[in-house]
Amino acid sequence: MTGRGVWVNVARGAVLAVITVWTLFPIYYIVSLAITPWTDLFRPVYFVTHPTLDNFKFVIFQESPFVKFFWRWLANSLWVSAATMFAVLVVAAMGSFALGRIRFGLGRWVSGITLFTYIIPASFLSIPFFKIMGDYDLLDTYWALIFAMTTFAAPYALWVLWDYAKTIPQEIDESAAIDGAGLVSVFFRIYLPLITPSLIAIGTYAFFYAWNEYLYAVLLLQGEKTITLPVGMGNFLTSDDAPWNLLMALSVIYALPPVLFYYVFRRYLTHGLVSGSVAGV
């Protein structure tokens, strides 16, 4: 027993060491480029020789012409992500209440629609969607983008909430109904308070879904000042003299909110996301 146990532990340790290096290396590389001065950039090294915070200064105080719209892009990203988060919370809370608490006859169809929207790749609808938005003169507005992102982020959020809604005992609703509460007040005064932890999880999920969104943002927004942070950064990739160290400093700033939030809400997030994905399997 002990002989085999030792080898299992050695193998496990080796696997964990490999995963750690594999996972952290690209992240180490982002951070190390972000603190590399421009003059050292074109000389590959394993460790940064002259670390500096100048890149962050250039980006934040807009001292480089490359990123003169940094604050605009950041504000745009924050606004579309917050609006998407709010819309997803409304859609998913109402939908999960309908499916999990009202339990109506056509619910099978609604849950089928939810799953269908979750699974179909958003990119397959992007070109016709772009054409339609052009026809209605809605290109370069945030509304088209926010509603498109809500459509594709809401089904997963709804699925997670629905799974949670099913675990709340039906008797709570029944006693409220006997006390004379209608569906609307059951929704606001009983259901919403009960699902608050899950709302935090899916709100975070929706916010960062929108924060990451690239395809729809690149299709729908065109102005130099109206684009979001990832689109603005992505646009540098087509130019040959892209300031890579500044891009990496931007990357660190851009990746920091999701990483911080993720660690704060880790318990809610992994539980919520997992229960949603495994639901019904």
Binding site: I19, V45, L99, I102, R103, L106, A122, N212, G234
Partner: protein, 289 residues
Amino acid sequence: MAVGSLVARSTAAAAGILSPRSRNLPGLLFSLPLLALFACFVVYPLFFVATRIFDRYTYEVLFSDPVYVQTIVNTIVYVGVAVNVKLFLALLLSAVLDSDGKATRFLSAIFLLPWAIPVLPGILSVRWMMSSQWGILNLISEDLGLGTHHWLASRWTAIGAIILFHIWKYLPFWTIIFLSARRGIPRQLYEAAYIDGAGPFQAFRYISLPMLGGIYLICTLLSMVFTMGDFTNVQLMTGGGPGDSTHVLATLAYRYTFRVGKIDWGMGVFATALPVTLLFIFVLIKKIR
């Protein structure tokens, strides 16, 4: 009166007195935001494609375009290799991480970082690593005596980079899914097996595999559909280059629409992939529910 009866009905519905059929109206009202989004942003675009796909000329152009044929091959390779390698590794890793040790908990916290980080910073990192002149990959390769390569400038190493990035980014998510599925397997099964003299491989073969088989299949289908529609990874990593040799469906549609200026060809690309995708989706909906 009407409002009063509606309130009375919804009250009764909340109490679960009425049949599911008579609860349809309040149910649909609460689902209305979802249904409206579905109608505007899913059904309408699909309908729009359906009205435009019966032009034979579009398909004659597409099927005679070598870039389109190459794109289909790329997509099949990308989806087939990336998804299957990723999920197989996820299944193995979920076994390694399935213990309550402190080291495991610490590592799983680190391990989830790629999932938390947006796509763009990760791609930038890999692109600069693979830069033929200034990248660290060539530094390592040279120090190992393997010489330098133009990683992103030839078709198969560029596709390899996209696949590796995909695995780096999405392995943690699926590992967590399998981990939670594993935690759902009753411990007693393993205890009984070990008492009967089974080794770890037999326990995997006769307990874990049958118990995880269903979810593994569903995850494979799900991940395949998601990856089939991938745009961001490929567009940001190679932009379809070099020489349009690494396009996948979504980036090719983007190229036809915006570089070539033929929006019908762009929609045609998706229209040709739609039958396979819809088949997958309906199988999945049947399996998941």
